[in-house]
């Protein structure tokens, strides 16, 4: 099997498995104000996800897993506590700095694919590279490479709506890989797919893990969570239990 990942210049980062954690949370809390009521969406989470981990975050709705995902994805800041992403404290960064962290260290895969409709497959995959300021020719080559890695080399000029759900999700995965992220966050990645396609997508993610990517899934489906190595269960804004590798 051809290696899916890592353009040459990124090789050193993953070739020597760093001992550090990809993610460290230290008593992280998130409090929302709903009217006059304070809601403890996260009530003090302490957690360590190692590099090259393959985790699934599970839990019923209201358990705080969405809040957790937003925090881990640097889309939101904790009310208190500390969040280290690849060793860097990101819990007190401003909006621009968080954007920079997302751009350089994170890749997102969403339930509803979230491709931009008016852009071609190639342009969608290129999007992070554009914001990273890559020169257009180089970005195009990289997009083509990633498209062929997810098996869509012949669909580069198609629009998202011309693709099946599974194909769209593969484009989204290719996009999440474009910036060679530290962590890939996948929010119910198979939620809109049938079981056969779901299996293909999970196999793709598992392959990425096999090549050293840190992957965090959020799902409520046991059979999807079963692809991961570690299952974290949440309840009432707290970590309820952790099963599997740690």
């Amino acid at each position: 099997m051809t290696r899916l990942l890592n353009p040459p210049e990124a090789e050193p980062a993953t070739s020597q498995p760093a001992p550090g954690a990809a993610i460290e949370l230290d008593d992280v809390r998130k409090v929302y104000l709903m009217g006059n009521e304070r809601v403890n969406a996260l009530a003090g989470v302490t957690l360590r996800i190692p590099r090259a981990g393959y985790w699934a975050i599970m839990g019923p709705s209201g358990s705080g897993k969405s809040t957790m995902l937003n925090l881990l994805g640097c889309l939101d800041r904790p009310t208190s506590g500390r969040y280290l992403l690849a060793g860097q404290d990101v819990s007190r960064l401003d909006d621009d700095q968080l954007s920079g962290i997302r751009l350089q260290k994170l890749g997102f895969v969403f339930q509803s694919f979230n491709l931009i409709a008016q852009l071609s497959v190639q342009e969608n995959i290129e999007l992070p590279l554009q914001y990273l300021g890559w020169e257009p020719g180089r970005a195009k080559d990289r997009a083509a490479e990633l498209a062929s890695l997810v098996g869509l080399a012949d669909r580069l000029n198609h629009r998202p709506r011309e693709l099946s759900g599974g194909q769209q999700q593969r484009v989204a995965i290719a996009r999440s890989l474009a910036n060679d992220p530290e962590v890939i966050l996948a929010d119910e990645p198979t939620g809109n797919l049938d079981s056969v396609t779901s299996r293909q997508i999970m196999e793709l993610l598992t392959r990425l893990h096999g090549e050293g990517k840190t992957i965090i899934l959020v799902t409520h489906e046991r059979d999807i969570a079963a692809y991961s190595r570690t299952q974290l269960h949440m309840k009432d804004g707290l970590v309820d239990s952790i099963e599997g590798e740690q």
Partner: protein, 420 residues
């Protein structure tokens, strides 16, 4: 590399706008008409002010023109007198020339309607008996021969200078100098032919195309001061010494002051008010003032349509932001900074406005031509109007794009991602 990315962003903006061709076109229309009308209105203003300047140029800005007029009391008199005596005197000319330090010279003018004849051809002419200075103060192109000179007056030569029109009608060929024509029974030798100016838009210019210029002294001697006018079967007699006096003032600064002084002097000698003064410079000032008001009025109306165009753009961009909330969320999640979202939307509005402005620039001069053809108002498209419009449409794009763009950038990425 930076320009490369900018070009990519502009291309992306155009691509997005092309997704909704009709909507983009309709949005642009506001700016198209706004810019078009700004250009057209400024062209109307420019045309009118050029016209005013042209008129003043023909009158001469350091000149003061005084004309004899039939006094009002006589016009209302039911019982016509046997002879009407009014107007400027030879002495007025002398007094004006002698008493004001800023007056360089004066040109006295007698006008006598008279038939000109050559063989079987005849033409009703207006004899203009004047001095050679006329041609300095009312400079006109010489087609053939020469104008009157000082010795014509001194030696009382029977010579005449015709206009191109008069020469063509009387002499048949426009350049025949040396022919002798008859004016009211007297023989005059044609020494020159000039091209007169045509009056434009009601401007009072001192010459006309049926003028026949002869030396003043000759005119006095041959035709006297009494003019017979036949109208409605009645013969009317007028005694007018001078029909007009053209006064040349030393400098533009002295014109208004001198005009007032002459007015004061003339009013004591002519209590009946049988004269009229024209100060081209004052007319110019008045025309300019009027023009300024007009420009502001027209400009404001055009500006309002541009404003409406801008609001149209803003409206559509706000709708577009709402429609593309999800896209904004995706871009933010991927790592776009707020200012990159601002740039994206701003580029779209500026492209819309600039494109609209460009079409407006093509439309504006066309509109100006249409106005000229249908209303006869002269229009000139000034370069500054085009440059101004380009600038304005860019500013409209930025000003009216800023708010929607800021709104897009300030969306919460989490909620934007959840937006259906």
């Amino acid at each position: 590399m930076y320009t490369g990315r900018l070009i990519r962003n502009i291309r992306m903006g155009i691509k997005t706008l092309l997704l909704h061709k009709l909507r983009s076109a309709l949005t642009m229309l506001g700016v198209v008409f706004g810019v078009g009308s700004v250009i057209a209105m400024l062209s109307v203003g420019e045309g009118a002010s050029q016209q005013a300047l042209e008129q003043i140029r023909k009158l001469g800005s350091t000149n003061i023109l005084i004309h004899s007029t039939r006094p009002t009391d006589e016009q209302t008199d039911g019982q016509r007198r046997r002879i009407s005596i009014f107007g400027l005197h030879y002495d007025d000319d002398l007094r004006i020339r002698e008493s004001f330090p800023d007056v360089l010279r004066t040109v006295p003018v007698k006008q006598i309607p008279m038939e000109g004849r050559l063989g079987s051809r005849s033409l009703d002419l207006r004899i203009v008996a004047t001095t050679s200075d006329w041609f300095d103060l009312v400079p006109r192109r010489i087609i053939a021969g020469r104008t009157l000179n000082a010795s014509d007056d001194d030696q009382r030569r029977n010579v005449v200078v015709l206009t191109e029109h008069g020469a063509r009608r009387l002499l048949a060929t426009a350049s025949t100098v040396g022919e002798t024509i008859r004016l009211g029974g007297n023989a005059f030798r044609v020494v020159g032919i000039i091209r007169n100016e045509e009056a434009v838009g009601g401007a009072q210019i001192p010459d006309s195309r049926i003028d026949a210029y002869i030396p003043l002294e000759v005119g006095k001697e041959r035709f006297g001061d009494i003019i017979l006018r036949r109208s409605a079967g009645q013969t009317e007699r007028e005694l007018v010494e001078l029909h007009s006096i053209i006064v040349e003032v030393r400098s533009v600064d002295a014109v208004e002051r001198t005009a007032e002084a002459i007015e004061r002097m003339l009013s004591t000698w002519h209590p009946r008010g049988d004269y009229e003064m024209n100060v081209p410079l004052a007319l110019l000032r008045q025309a300019e003032e009027q023009q300024r008001i007009w420009n502001w009025t027209l400009g404001s109306v055009a500006g309002i349509s541009l404003l409406v165009g801008g609001i149209g753009i803003m409206n559509i961009m706000l709708a577009s932001v709402t429609e593309r909330t999800r896209e904004i969320g995706i871009r933010r999640a991927i790592g776009a900074r707020k200012r990159q979202i601002v740039a994206q939307f701003l580029i779209e509005t500026v492209v819309l406005a600039a494109l609209g402005g460009l079409i407006g620039i093509l439309l504006g001069p066309l509109l100006a031509v249409v106005i000229r053809e249908f209303s006869g108002i002269p229009t000139i498209v000034p370069a500054y109007a085009v440059i101004l419009s380009v600038g304005i449409s860019m500013v409209v794009g930025i000003v009216f794009g800023l708010y929607p763009a800021a709104r897009a950038a300030n969306l919460d990425p989490i909620q934007a991602l959840r937006h259906e």
